[in-house]
Every structure is written in structure tokens, then in C-alpha cells.
Symmetry: C2
Subunit: 219 residues, 2 copies
Amino acid sequence: MPFLDHLADEGVTEVVFAGAIRRPRLDPALFDPRTMQIVPRILNAMQTGDDAALREVLAVFEESGLSVRAIDQILPSLVPAEGLLVGEPSERDRQDADYAARIVAGLGPLDIGQGAIVAQGLCLAVEALPGTDAMLEFAALHRDLRPNAKGAKGVLYKAPKPAQDRRIDLPTIGPDTVRRAAAADLAGIAWEAGGVILLERERTLADARAAGLFLWARG
Amino acid sequence: MPFLDHLADEGVTEVVFAGAIRRPRLDPALFDPRTMQIVPRILNAMQTGDDAALREVLAVFEESGLSVRAIDQILPSLVPAEGLLVGEPSERDRQDADYAARIVAGLGPLDIGQGAIVAQGLCLAVEALPGTDAMLEFAALHRDLRPNAKGAKGVLYKAPKPAQDRRIDLPTIGPDTVRRAAAADLAGIAWEAGGVILLERERTLADARAAGLFLWARG
């Protein structure tokens, strides 16, 4: 809570969340008494999944008088609107992206993750707690499972969960995503237009072009 | 097709499917002309996911006059009914199994896989094309992500997809599953009672007992 007091002292009235979120290993010995009071509700929420935990985090900020803004209200250029940014998915890639999008939407109510990898109509991997990078490493490890070695290479698809608060924990794509998607031999990366943050845009686009991956903000 | 003719010649009228199923890399040069005729439908079905592909396989056998039986009609002892076989899940383990069961049921219409791993209310992994062993290896790799290192260790849950034909591709548990679940530091293995094949029952139970894992055919 000293952190929230500090924001108030500095005259901060609005906050925006950015960056990766990790579940902390909390050490109660480090809490001041006021922080200690909010620990039980955060801990409870953490045990019921991402969405609930993050809603509690937002509530804590809002209750202390701060207004939480969405990142695309502050820096709209970070969240690409519909369109092809690099390359061109094949018809088969588009089918794989469609199926992956259905999977991510279907996973939404289960509060599991924000991504899936589909190749040749088959789901190679689903994002869970370990995150997108771990999922891409998993897909790289098992890339020989595609039924047709010369067929469609597959698509990483990312989207927010249908019911999540879009002011926090938007999925993110950047140079690391491109590097790992190339290592997994994918054809490209697709995502929900308006729902995903594209980091280091120029470098990400250049890396994708160099690796022969498409980048597609799918409508 | 020569294989189906051979079964008819031998007077076989009933078949039962057992064992792991891998998507074959088909080499058209190896097909005889009659087999070639069924290749397009199998290939088409393979591209729409497991359930469709396996339904086509069953249809091919049935159209040639064979009756396809479920494994629990032949060897009911392979498919445990409800009950605890080894150990005792804690209340928290039961909650993890409940959530994992909801995930596997929810994944069903998406035709992704037949398993999930949940620890402390969080989904560590979802089964996809690479299968249960690959999912367990993934969970072992990321086992440090549990928020509370001393908390519940987590549960592997397996179940048939809600809409699948139970005469083929029932999920399977055996000594390998136990070994990998122990390597992933899980508390135990739960599955849908009546819907999962338990291989090498005595050895699997003994191994689970030795590793301190529960085995639970969940009702």
C-alpha cells in the first residue's frame, strides 16, 4: 500500500498496466501492516485463476482512487487494427488460424490461457500457466507430429479471453515470439485485431519478414 | 483392404481396438488399388481432427461387415469403475481434479485432447496432439510455477471426450503415466470412472504406491 500512497502523493490519478505478469511467491514477512490486509483477498483470487486474480488487482487500484486505463487508450499504435502486417497466409493457414481462434475462444470460460497452435487442422499446443514462450518451445519439440511433413506449417494464434478485463493482461507479441515461432517451424502468427499488444513493432516486423513468417491482425 | 479380407477369410466377425494410435505418414506408393479408394476419405477426416478420423476408421471396418466392440465389453477389468485404487486425494487435490475434469469436458467440443494437469487451482498443461506423456514432460519442466511451493502438488486428469465413440481411442493409464506423473511432482492421477483403460494394473498400482501418488477412478 505504500506504493499506492506514493502514487497519490505524486498526484497520479490514472494508471495503465503493461508488461508481463508473474504470479509472485509472496513472503508475508515483507508486508507492511496495511498491505497485509489485502493479502488474503489477492491470495484467494489467485487460487481461482488468472481472471479473478487480475480483477482483484484492478479493484485494489480503483478503490484507492486511481483510474485504470486500457493501453490502447494511451498508445493506440501498440495494438494493431485489422490487417496483414507481414507476408500472406495461405488458404490452409487461414483455416488453421480459424480453428485456433475457435480453440482460444472456447478455452475462455475455463480461464486457461490466451493462445493455441494449430497445424494442418490439428491442435499442437494450448497455452496454459507456463505461457506463450513455453507453448512455442513445446510445439518446437513436437514439430514432427504434423501428418504431412510438406503440408501447412501451422499458426500461432493469440487473443484475449472473451470475458477478461482488457485493461490488464492483454496478450503480447514481440521479437521473442517471432524467434520462437520460427524455431517451431510455423507459417506465421495471427491474433485478434485490437486485442493484442505488438511490442517493438519495427523489429518484430523485420524479424518476421526475415524468418518468412506472416503477421496477421485477424478481424 | 487386404487386411480386412484376411479377417473375413479367417472367420473374424468382431474386432476390438486397443493400443496407441498414431497419425500415419501415408505413402501412396505402398497402397493397393482398393486401399487407394478409401485413402481420400481417411485423409479428409484426418484433417478435421481425431474424432472424425477415428469415426471413419470405425466406419471402414463396419462397412466390411465386422462388428466393432468396446474394450470394456471384452475385458471389463481393464476399465476401473468408481473408487480409490491407491492413496487418498486431499480436499485440495479433489478441487484440482474437479477443475481439471471441467477443463477436459470443456475441451471436448474443440477436439483437442483427453487430459489436463491442474495444481493449486491453476491449469499447468492441456493435452493436445503430442499426447499425455508429452504433457507430463511439459508439466515437469514447468513445475516451479506453482504459486505455493509447499502447497498442493496437482493432479493429472484423464477422460474420454464427451462426444467421442468409446469403442476406440479410450484414454489409457499405465506404469509410464505413473512414472511421468511422479517426475512432474504431482499428487496423483484421477480419471473418469468407466472411461479410461488401466494397463498393467498390478504394476501400475504398486508403482503409484511406491511413488506416493494416488490413483482415483472419479465418479
